[in-house]
C-alpha cells in the first residue's frame, strides 16, 4: 500500500511474526475445512443412482441444481405441500425441492402449475403451463403380483389407512380445498384407485386381463400421457405400493 514507507526488516522470531504465522496457519486450516465441507456436497449427487423426483417444469437435473436458488417459494404455493426441500444429506441438492410422492403426490389441485410460476430463476421452466405438459417421470407397475385389481379384488375403506396425512382435492366434494385422503372412504368392487384418482386424462387405464366371462381381473396400464405426478403411487392401498414413479424417465425411452 505504501511503497515509500521505510522497509523494516522483520525478525522471523519476533512475537508479531509468530502471531502472524499462527493467524495465517489458522486461516489456511479454516479455509481448507470450509471448502472441503462445501465440496463434500458433491458426493451425495455423484452417489445417486436415480435422480430425485423433481417438481413440475424442472429442467435437466444438472441445470436444475445450478439454477435453483434454494428459496422454497414453490413449496409455499403448493396447496397440498407436495414439495419438500433437500437437506444436508442431499449435498448440492440442499434447499432444492423434490417430491416424496408416496407421502404426498402432486394432484394439480392448484389448477395451473403454481410452483413453476413461483420459481424466480427458471429452475422450473415457464415453458410448461399446463399439467399435461409436465414430464416429471413415468408411473410403472413395479409389483404387479401384489396389485388388488390384478387379483380381481375390490377395496373398501380409507385408501392409506386412518393415520395417513396425505391430501387430495376431490373435485366432487370440494372444488377448492384439498382434504385428507383418510377422510375419504371407498367401496370399490375392483380396486382402481390409481386410475380413479389420476389427475391427467388418458394417462392410465384399467384393462381386463382376459376375455373370459366372469374373470374380474384387471390390470392398470400406463399410457403416454402420464406426467409422473405420483397420484397413483400415493393412492395405491397395498403396502408397499405396487405402482411407482420412475423419475426423469420419458415415454419411449428404454
Amino acid at each position: 500500500m505504501n511503497n515509500d514507507k521505510k522497509k523494516v526488516k522483520k525478525n522471523p522470531n519476533s512475537p508479531a511474526s509468530k502471531r502472524a504465522r499462527r493467524e495465517f496457519l489458522r486461516a489456511c486450516v479454516a479455509g481448507t475445512g470450509i471448502t472441503g465441507l462445501a465440496m463434500a456436497g458433491w458426493l451425495p449427487v455423484l452417489a445417486q443412482t436415480e435422480t430425485p423426483l423433481r417438481p413440475p417444469g424442472a429442467i435437466d437435473e444438472k441445470d436444475y441444481l445450478a439454477s435453483c436458488i434454494k428459496c422454497g417459494q414453490c413449496v409455499q404455493v403448493c396447496p397440498v405441500e407436495a414439495l419438500v426441500l433437500g437437506d444436508a444429506v442431499d449435498g448440492f441438492g440442499i434447499g432444492a425441492p423434490y417430491l416424496d410422492v408416496r407421502a404426498q403426490a402432486c394432484d394439480f389441485s392448484c389448477d395451473a402449475v403454481q410452483c413453476i410460476l413461483a420459481c424466480p430463476t427458471g429452475a422450473l421452466s415457464h415453458s410448461v403451463d399446463k399439467k399435461e405438459e409436465v414430464t416429471m417421470g413415468l408411473a410403472k407397475l413395479t409389483k404387479p403380483d401384489n396389485c388388488l385389481a390384478r387379483r380381481g379384488q375390490g377395496f373398501k375403506g380409507q385408501a392409506r389407512g386412518a393415520a395417513f396425512d396425505g391430501l387430495h382435492r376431490y373435485s366432487e366434494i370440494d372444488r377448492w380445498t384439498p382434504i385428507k385422503v383418510s377422510d375419504h372412504e371407498y367401496d370399490l368392487e375392483i380396486c382402481d384407485l390409481c386410475v380413479r384418482e389420476c389427475p391427467v386424462k388418458n394417462a392410465i387405464e384399467m384393462v381386463p386381463m382376459s376375455e373370459v366371462v366372469g374373470d374380474k381381473r384387471m390390470t392398470p396400464v400406463v399410457k403416454e400421457a402420464c406426467v409422473g405426478c405420483g397420484m397413483c403411487e400415493m393412492m395405491c392401498p397395498v403396502e408397499p405400493t405396487c405402482i411407482e414413479i420412475e423419475s426423469g424417465v420419458k415415454w419411449g425411452a428404454a
Binding site: 486461516a27 444438472k62 445450478a66 413461483a118 430463476t121
Partner: protein, 325 residues
C-alpha cells in the same frame, strides 16, 4: 479515490497503514498538534478517567437492530406459517408483496453455475442491489441476517468466557475471506453447482426458520460453538462471502458511520466492540488523516461503536442529509 481504494484493500484483508504526516489535511495536522499539547493531554486523561468511572454504554442501536433482525425474519416465518404472504420465500430469494427480491450472493452463485439469468432473477437482483447500495451493503449483515444474531449471542458468551480467563480468542489472517470468495466463485463456475449454498449458514438458517428444522442446522450449531469457544465472530469475520458481496455493493453508499477526530478521546473502546475493528483503526491516536472520515466499506453499520462512544465521535450519517439521525 485513494481512501476508497484503501477501504477496499482493508476489506479484502490488508492491514491498515498509518497515513504519513505529509498526506494529512491541514485540519488534521492542526487537530493532531492541538491534541498533543500538554493541557489537552491532561484534559483527555481526566475525561477518560471519568468516562471509565461512569461506564458509558448505550444499547439504543443494538435494540433497534435486534428488533429489525427479529421482525424481518419473523415476517418470513409468519408469511408461510399463517399464509400472510407478505414476504414469501427465504433470504436467498423471496417476494415482498409480490415483488421479486434475490440475495446478491445467492444470485451470483446461480449465475456463475447456471450461466444464465432469468428475467425475474434480474429484477430481484437489481432491486436488492439498489436497496443495499442506498442503505450500505453490509447493513444487510447486522440488520437482516439471522446468523448475525446467533453470532452476536455467541460473541457475548465468548467474551464472558474470555473475561473469566477460561478461553482465549484465536484471530486469523483476514485475507482468507477474500480467498474463499474467489474459491467459491471459481467452484460455482467450474462445477456448475451452487457449491457455497451447501454450507451457507444464512440460507440454512433462513430456510430452517421458514420451513422447519433440518439436519443442516447442525452445521450452524458447529459454527456457533467455534465462535463461542475458539474464534470470536469466526464466520462473519473470516469466512462469509455474502458479507464481502454486500461490502462491495455498499462501498459507495451514502449511509455511513462518520468519525469525528475532534471529539475522539482515542481510548479504543469502539474497536473492542466492533465486528470489523480494522475499519476503526482511524480512531487510533495519529492515524486519522482528516478531521472527519467516513468509516470504510467493511463496516456493517451495526452501531455498536456509536452506542459505545462516550463523546459522539462516531455517528450515523447520511450523505447530503447531515444531522437527520
Amino acid at each position: 479515490m485513494k481512501r476508497f481504494i484503501n477501504s477496499f484493500q482493508l476489506m479484502l484483508g490488508e492491514k491498515f497503514v498509518r497515513p504519513s504526516k505529509d498526506t494529512w489535511t491541514d485540519g488534521a495536522k492542526e487537530m493532531h498538534a492541538h491534541k498533543k499539547t500538554s493541557d489537552q493531554v491532561a484534559i483527555r486523561r481526566q475525561a477518560i478517567k471519568e468516562e471509565i468511572a461512569a461506564n458509558h454504554s448505550s444499547t439504543k442501536w443494538k435494540k433497534r437492530r435486534w428488533f429489525s433482525i427479529i421482525l424481518i425474519n419473523l415476517l418470513f416465518i409468519l408469511s408461510f406459517q399463517f399464509d400472510i404472504q407478505l414476504v414469501e420465500g427465504a433470504l436467498t430469494a423471496s417476494r415482498f408483496i409480490g415483488f421479486h427480491m434475490a440475495d446478491l450472493n445467492s444470485a451470483l452463485q446461480v449465475v456463475l453455475a447456471y450461466k444464465h439469468m432469468d428475467i425475474n432473477l434480474i429484477i430481484g437482483t437489481v432491486t436488492v442491489f439498489l436497496i443495499w447500495w442506498v442503505l450500505g451493503g453490509r447493513t444487510f449483515c447486522s440488520w437482516v441476517c439471522p446468523y448475525h444474531l446467533v453470532s452476536e449471542i455467541g460473541e457475548i458468551l465468548h467474551l464472558k468466557l474470555v473475561d473469566k480467563g477460561w478461553i482465549k480468542d484465536h484471530p486469523m489472517d483476514r485475507r482468507i475471506r477474500t480467498v474463499l470468495y474467489v474459491v467459491f466463485a471459481i467452484l460455482a463456475f467450474g462445477t456448475g453447482y451452487t457449491v457455497f449454498e451447501t454450507i451457507s449458514p444464512v440460507g440454512i438458517l433462513s430456510r430452517g426458520l421458514t420451513y422447519g428444522a433440518s439436519l443442516a442446522l447442525i452445521w450452524v450449531g458447529i459454527l456457533f460453538l467455534i465462535e463461542v469457544f475458539y474464534s470470536r465472530r469466526f464466520w462473519c469475520r473470516y469466512a462469509c462471502p455474502i458479507g464481502l458481496t454486500y461490502g462491495f455493493v455498499g462501498s459507495l453508499s451514502p449511509m455511513k458511520i462518520n468519525y469525528n477526530l475532534e471529539n475522539c478521546l482515542h481510548e479504543g473502546e469502539c474497536r473492542k466492540v466492533c465486528l470489523v475493528p480494522h475499519v476503526l483503526d482511524i480512531t487510533k491516536m495519529g492515524y486519522a488523516d482528516d478531521v472527519s472520515i467516513d468509516v470504510g466499506a467493511d463496516c456493517t453499520r451495526c452501531g455498536m461503536c456509536v452506542d459505545k462512544c462516550p463523546t459522539q465521535a462516531l455517528t450515523f450519517k447520511i450523505k447530503g442529509l447531515d444531522g437527520m439521525l
